[in-house]
Symmetry: C2
Subunit: 555 residues, 2 copies
């Protein structure tokens, strides 16, 4: 048997995972990796932190070199080498040496495409001053630009990477403006969850402009769509990425409806000798079963390994994508998995929504940090559709647990059953994830109907009364206008003070509200619990205010 | 309809969860809680930390009072009141006021037993000097004893709570001796995982005596079974607890084979009007389906709520118990779920065992902390049977994720598929849990056979050669005696240097060993990977040394 020739295009996360796995599975194959950039296996997720000086050494970003991969895995890794054409009939790829322009034709038995994605650059005047942070060359350019000591920076796009850019530029001491087209930061999560993140940025001195876009970039300022001008000596853009499909499209491979390379359940493209993985490829969404573009390193690595398995004839199973992600923003952790409320409601899904505000661990052990969690549940099946968390310590843990529960097919109510590690400095006897399960179970069982923060106004207009069951000290720190106030511990004795009609009950976080709703329901009252209590309502209202403030600033 | 009379015996975790849930479900019931101690709903898991001064205020431990529970939930909570007899035919309980000795007969429609557990006190000379930390009275007594400023302390029992005692006494500045009957600390985990915990204690100045028991306690010293004497001005014991079943047994309720109260799948005892929950009750083990005693606060809380649901006619499902637990020891986090290797091997289960040594997050982002993980897998089904973690940041997260995967019925290989939240300061693109999945999959697929640290000697005796593929710098820091050393990156070119026969390949943690085994296997060699690499082997050998050292100290 002659040795197999495996050719891989793209030498970062997915491509290099495929190449090293292929070697482990086939010691005798010829394995060649072509990488257009100057580096392979670099730490793309670390780039913003190198820019910010948190990661001090550039060499830390370079995890492997062509030489190290050659000696350990017998790989022929060619950097600064672009695959310019695929001849599918001949099963060859034309590779161009970007230094010399020389072209070589490389035959393959199996070809893996891992070309990744490219940052989107909206066309605008001065747009060429917008730098991105997608590879080592990008960060080298950005670092060079910072050498002239700009005082001000503009970041375009408040997604996960955009906020990492902001944090790191603030860390470097720059005065930063953040412009985002959506009316919130972090569009993948919901506005009432994102509001506190925007506020944290504002508190750190960032000029946050929501519902706005950049229309022109000048020498050291930029003009926004609302007509205002912001300082912008240094400009970074992170408004999204698009799959790098040019080579695949030119070779006539099928693309999907979302514009990524289409692959089957074995990661194989429309050509039986070509597999594709990573950001360039459409995944299957775990919630809808529909095609989805997800640019996440974990999936790229995983699929690289699976493609190698498939190529060497092993059975593989590609799991549908949840899109779990996390970002650190000025000491806050923000994490999400699955779908958000905006998308689910836009799809007309019948959902239940739960907000909680637990502490990272028991209140009696020092150092507990607060967090807000949100759970999205199918109203018909109790299936978990998504979760979000914002706060201090332990947010990433809870989202990981929920993502795992989703992978295991647990219902929202079953979160109550999870046996999670408890000692007072790590969690509570009822972990925040258990509590979400309890809340979901009370709703699933019809025990405590609830209402969302954005539904309160309409309910009040329809005649409902807001009943605040917090203590006077809590009420003094802020309350819903027009609410009736009776502390929970007095409620049982003051039922006759309640007006006719529906009662929207709330406490600070929802737990006493639940007790109050149960009490009232058993006294024959129509009572609903304001989900997430005053804290969620306030976060939602504040998030709206931020947008209004931004509009006012522009006017 | 007359209102129901619910009587609950025991007012801490399980009992109070049952009482408050009963109120939420039945506003009109009479709910009475009898508590033998002086306090209800206290923070029993916080007691060691109050002793150590980490929790400064005693009041922090008292989460609720009879008064607060009365006003909020309309509960009749009677502390210092002992249930002395149950008349099952009459459906009454005789309650004795411990202050006055007065007895009252209380009728019930439903009775909930949540009497908890009591610390075991091995009989010995001077044993009455051994204090425990099981309730508020215990901690008050201990604090009073500490007022005379003892310089030395003896802790008997190196389980989870024993180690919390040690940490807190060290924190208070005492010179601490720890005596444990088993040949390791933390018997619920395996010795090679527990070794580094014992070493950490030794490094903190604790005199750790393994495989030893206390035979007599004198005025300010104690005598051990090996004949040695240790200082012991202050003595705390934590050698386990037994279910408090005296009342239940006297009432003729069925007990189980493990000595706990027997309940059915609806938490009902052998009497249809009596339910039981918490430490006193036998749970069903999630791995074996057999009865099991598990004294964990999370299960008590959960079952209290479920019992209330069952009593009020709701459908409940009690999930079998995994026994997930965590403890902090001198900056180390130790967590476990499910079964350990010792128990599984003693049962003759056909298992696969995996050790890894990942970092809490990417190496290129500052502050990553190391950890060791262990996964126990059914060799036939790939089902996860247990997991253990020891290390810094993020150990609790990984054990929680694995416990959730177990609850969801995911196989070990499916851990590779989990989409966990990744950014460089939180995890790696392949999270440590994903890596366990990859390792498990390589074993399940037969790609990389492995050998455990405790099997090396026998394999070498049978003619195998240990092949160390680490770099010379690593080898210089310590190596397995008699090993052949060829760095992985040179292995492909130096195959002819290898001796005949089986090769036991190892690197530092197992990953390069896996690559080497794949390489060697495809060159026709019989090669196995030393699971967990040098680090696990060293931890196992060191753990044995600790016991030998202790024996030598005694001799």
């Amino acid at each position: 048997m002659t040795s197999q020739r495996y050719l891989i295009i793209g030498g970062v996360a997915g491509g290099m995972s495929a190449a090293t796995r292929l070697r482990r599975l086939d010691e005798h194959a010829q394995i060649t990796v072509l990488e257009r950039g100057g580096y392979v296996s670099f730490a793309n997720c670390g780039l913003p932190y190198y820019l910010g000086g948190v990661i001090e050494e550039r060499s830390s970003l370079l995890l492997q070199t062509p030489e190290s991969l050659g000696s350990r895995f017998g790989l022929d890794v060619r950097v600064l080498t672009e695959a310019v054409a695929i001849d599918r009939a001949a099963r060859t790829v034309t590779a161009r040496d970007l230094a010399t322009g020389d072209e070589t034709v490389l035959p393959y038995d199996a070809l893996v495409l891992s070309p990744g994605s490219v940052p989107i650059r909206p066309p605008m005047e001065g747009g060429d001053r917008t730098l991105t942070l997608w590879n080592i060359d990008d960060v080298d350019t950005a670092m060079a630009r910072l050498e002239v000591q700009p005082r001000t920076a503009l970041v375009i796009g408040a997604g996960f990477i955009g906020l990492e850019m902001v944090e790191n530029l603030v860390h470097r001491g720059l005065e930063v403006t953040l412009v985002e087209l959506a009316e919130q930061v972090l569009p993948p999560i919901d506005p009432e969850m994102a509001g506190p993140v925007a506020q944290r940025l504002i508190d750190a001195g960032v000029d946050v402009r929501l519902g706005t876009r950049v229309v022109a970039i000048g020498a050291d300022t930029a003009t926004l769509s609302d007509g205002s001008t912001v300082p912008a000596e240094f400009v970074l853009g992170s408004v999204g990425v698009r799959p790098e499909t040019s080579l695949a499209a030119a070779a006539g491979l099928e693309l999907g409806e979302r514009g990524g390379i289409r692959v089957d359940e074995h990661l194989r493209t429309s050509d039986p000798h070509i597999w594709a993985i990573g950001d360039a490829v459409e995944k299957v969404d775990a919630i809808t079963g529909e095609p989805r573009i997800v640019a996440l390193a974990g999936l790229a690595n995983r699929h690289g390994r699976l493609a190698a398995d498939a190529i060497t004839g092993r059975e593989i199973r590609v799991r549908d994508a949840l899109g779990t992600a996390v970002v650190g923003v000025m000491g806050l952790t923000v994490a999400t998995t699955g779908w958000n409320e905006k998308l689910l409601r836009a799809r007309g899904r019948d959902i239940r929504v739960f907000h909680t505000h637990p502490a990272s661990h028991t209140g009696y052990y020092p150092g507990a940090e607060g967090m807000s969690l949100k759970l999205l549940v199918d109203a018909g099946t109790d299936a978990i559709l998504g979760a979000q968390g914002v706060g201090g310590e332990g947010v990433d843990k809870r989202i990981d647990v929920i993502a795992t529960a989703m992978a295991g097919g647990l219902t929202a109510s079953e979160l109550a059953d999870l046996e999670l590690a408890y000692a007072p400095q790590y969690s509570s006897a009822k972990d925040p994830v258990n509590m979400l399960g309890y809340v979901a179970m009370n709703a699933a069982d019809g025990l405590t109907p609830s209402i969302q923060w954005h539904e309160v106004d309409a309910a009040v207009d329809a005649g409902a009364t807001v009943l605040d069951v917090r203590n006077p000290g809590e009420v003094a720190d802020g309350a819903i206008p027009g609410s009736l106030r009776i502390p929970l511990d007095e409620l049982r004795d003051r039922l006759d003070e309640l007006p006719e009609g529906r009662l929207i009950v709330h406490c600070k976080v929802g737990q006493r509200g639940h007790t109050a709703v149960r009490l009232l329901a058993q006294h024959g009252r129509d009572a609903v619990n304001l989900d997430g209590g005053y804290l969620t309502w306030k976060a939602g209202i504040d998030a709206r205010e931020l947008v209004a403030d931004a509009a006012e600033l522009a006017a």
